[in-house]
């Protein structure tokens, strides 16, 4: 398993801290040790100078007094005095050793210098100096083993302190980092659940730190993505419904055409029966043709830009009324154009298609003796009928492709169920509004309101 971020942070931080702590402590220890050695050496030097001068004076006094005291005895008494301070002394006349309180006299270092000798566990600081204009030499030796022991015990103390601090830090840092990374861990768990498809969870947004901000952005992102996915799904569903409807709409006339063709081929029926079947094939073929034309119109609309111009709406109404007069008359429906003038910005061909479809629908909605009224105003056309009307439920679906308010009747009249869907598309492409006002058994009024024309520049 891969280490988590907080675990890596923990290890790296701890390691870095330990390195710094130990390096710091031990540098300090060595520095302190160095200083104390130096101090001791300086003290020794001073002491040796003092001792040498004092001894020289005593030697001088002794020689003047001639009381028979030898330098050896003098040295001995000095050595006895200093023994408690762990200082050993040796006295040389020329190169001859006169006196030594060293267990074993070490080799003489050069005049006035400090030497350290180390024998097994013991360390000595040695200083030699001349006395009596070079006749005698004094060797001063100070035991310095206690310095090492002090250093060793110092190191031990430091190590113990460092170990304690390290342990404390290790535990505390672990708890701290774990706690600090808790929101991140929660977010990770949430992410995993969302990735597994659970859309009900959300990241916790408590607190004011970056994690809370991250959780907030994360939730927003999830919300947006979900919304978008839903939209896509809806869109796909709508398209699927359209394709299903289309397949059904095409399959129905195809079934009839195929069936009646087979009937003509196979059935032993009189001549007029065969003619009837042939006529049915013709009418079903026309129906297929109408569906494909409407679909093509719709595709044309989607793929082409509008060629806008100022359209005279009164002229458009008159033209449409003229084109639809024959079918209206056939059904016994009166088609009336109210006087009025107006114009709108739009594509003349498409607006003509729009009005034609609306008027045709109105005529079909009417019973014999009904009336369809066309009227126009500035940026407005309206088609109303006193036909069978629509319920609220029907109104909600009326512009969906292949929707029919009265399925069997509309089909019998050869409607493809695409007319109003096409109208809606045209209206939308003009930025206009399509409003239905309908009541069952009272009639329907459709109004198209175009946007205000842009002021000429």
């Amino acid at each position: 398993m891969r280490r988590r971020f907080w675990q890596r942070t923990y290890l790296v931080t701890l390691l870095l801290f330990l390195v710094c702590l130990y390096a710091g402590l031990f540098s300090l220890a060595f520095y302190t040790y160095g200083r104390s050695v130096e101090n001791t050496e300086n003290a020794c030097l001073a002491e040796e100078r003092y001792l040498a001068r004092s001894f020289e004076r005593d030697l001088h006094d002794m020689e003047e007094a001639e009381n028979g005291t030898s330098p050896k005895l003098l040295m001995q008494s000095y050595a006895q005095n200093y023994e408690k301070q762990r200082v050993s002394l040796a006295f040389f006349e020329g190169d001859r050793e006169v006196f030594s309180s060293f267990g074993e006299t070490p080799p003489l270092p050069e005049n006035g210098t400090i030497t350290q000798i180390k024998e097994e566990e013991d360390r000595w600081i040695l200083i030699s100096g001349e006395i009596g204009e070079g006749r005698y030499r004094l060797l001063y030796g100070r035991y310095a083993g206690d310095l090492d022991r002090e250093f060793a015990s110092l190191m031990l103390t430091y190590a113990a302190v460092a170990a304690g601090v390290s342990l404390f830090l290790a535990v505390f840092l672990l708890l701290l980092l774990k706690r600090l990374s808790l929101p991140l861990e929660k977010l990770r768990v949430t992410t995993e659940r969302i990735a597994a498809g659970d859309r009900t969870v959300a990241a916790e947004e408590s607190g004011k730190d970056e994690f809370a901000a991250l959780a907030k952005s994360f939730n927003q992102m999830v919300e947006k993505v979900s919304a978008q996915m839903e939209e896509l799904a809806d869109d796909a569903e709508r398209k699927q419904a359209l394709v299903d409807n289309m397949a059904h709409e095409m399959r129905t006339p195809l079934t009839s055409i195929r069936g009646f063709a087979e009937y003509i081929e196979k059935a032993a029926v009189p001549e007029e029966e065969r003619r009837d079947a042939a006529l049915r094939i013709v009418s079903e073929t026309d129906r297929l043709k109408r569906i494909s034309e409407k679909l093509l119109d719709s595709a044309f609309l989607r793929e082409n830009t509008l060629q806008k111009e100022t359209v005279d709406l009164a002229a458009l109404l008159a033209d449409t009324a003229a084109r639809l007069a024959p079918p209206a008359k056939e059904r016994g429906v009166t088609l009336r154009v109210l006087p009025g003038a107006g114009s709108a910005e739009g594509d003349a061909t498409l607006l003509s298609m729009l009005l034609y479809n609306l008027t045709e629908n109105a005529i079909k909605a009417c019973r014999p003796g009904g009336e369809v009224v066309l009227s126009a105003g500035e940026n407005r056309i309206s088609v109303s009928d006193n036909g069978k009307g629509m319920t609220k439920e029907q109104l909600a679906h009326v512009t969906e492709p292949f929707y029919r308010t009265d399925k069997s009747r509309s089909r019998a009249e050869g409607g493809a169920g695409l007319g109003l869907a096409l109208c809606r598309q045209i209206v939308l492409s003009h930025g206009a509004e399509l409003a239905f006002d309908s009541e069952p058994e009272r009639g329907t009024a459709v109004t198209v309101v175009f946007p205000q024309k842009e002021a000429p520049q």
Binding site: A247, T252, T255, R258, Y263, A267, A268, S408, A412
Partner: protein, 217 residues
């Protein structure tokens, strides 16, 4: 031979089914919406109901729910070949289904199969002086029994079930000889000739140009 209720809102398809079933001897009633169909099927007796799924008023699935008590066999006529629709239809108690667009022969055959399974009144058939008894597989002409091989009888029955409709040699082979037949179309011609001779069907069992044979009664 059987009383069949056709429920289909597409007038053309309703007519198409009616015309073909009438041709092979069934008596048809045509209805165009679900609610009326549910009502009529409960008050009147039908031997079989052909039911469209997408209907105004009540859907085909709703109608079959209303008919659960009547035990009338139902064949769904559906525009969708989708498996869920077919399964739902069968689960609701339909006896079979036909997918649009369908062949006439398939329609007639499925109707015949379901009627036969339901044990309807269709147990014998007579024309001119010929009588065919489907239960005992006996054929008589002018009161005298006519000797027939099993295949000759099967061919006669297939022609009667699809009477007034032209059947191709391939279709006849499929219906009579089934899958285990690897002979030639001439076998059909030979059997047809023998049937004509034995039952004197020269005017009834006609050769249809470029198609096959048709029993016209």
């Amino acid at each position: 031979m059987a009383r069949i209720l056709i429920v289909e809102d597409e007038i053309q398809i309703n007519d198409l089914i009616m015309k073909n079933l009438r041709l092979v001897g069934h008596e048809c009633t045509q209805l165009y919406d679900g609610e009326e169909a549910a009502l009529r099927a409960q008050t009147e007796h039908f031997d079989l109901i052909l039911l469209d799924v997408m209907l105004p008023g009540l859907s085909g699935f709703d109608v079959i729910g209303e008919l659960r008590g009547t035990k009338t066999p139902v064949i769904f006529v559906t525009a969708k070949n989708a498996l869920p629709d077919r399964l739902q239809g069968l689960r609701l108690g339909a006896d079979d289904y036909i997918v649009k667009p369908f062949e006439i022969l398939e329609l007639v055959q499925r109707v015949d199969t379901v009627l036969r399974r339901a044990g309807g009144p269709r147990r014998s058939f007579s024309f001119d002086d010929v009588t065919v008894d489907f239960d005992s597989r006996r054929v008589s002409k002018g009161g005298k029994e006519v000797e027939m091989t099993p295949k000759e009888y099967d061919l006669l029955e297939a022609l009667i079930v699809n009477r007034n409709l032209a059947l191709s040699r391939e279709q006849l082979i499929y219906l009579v000889w089934s899958h285990d037949f690897d002979g030639e179309n001439r076998t059909v011609d030979t059997h047809v000739r023998r049937l004509r001779k034995k039952l004197g069907l020269e005017d009834r069992l006609k050769t249809v140009f470029k198609t096959g044979y048709r029993l016209e009664v």
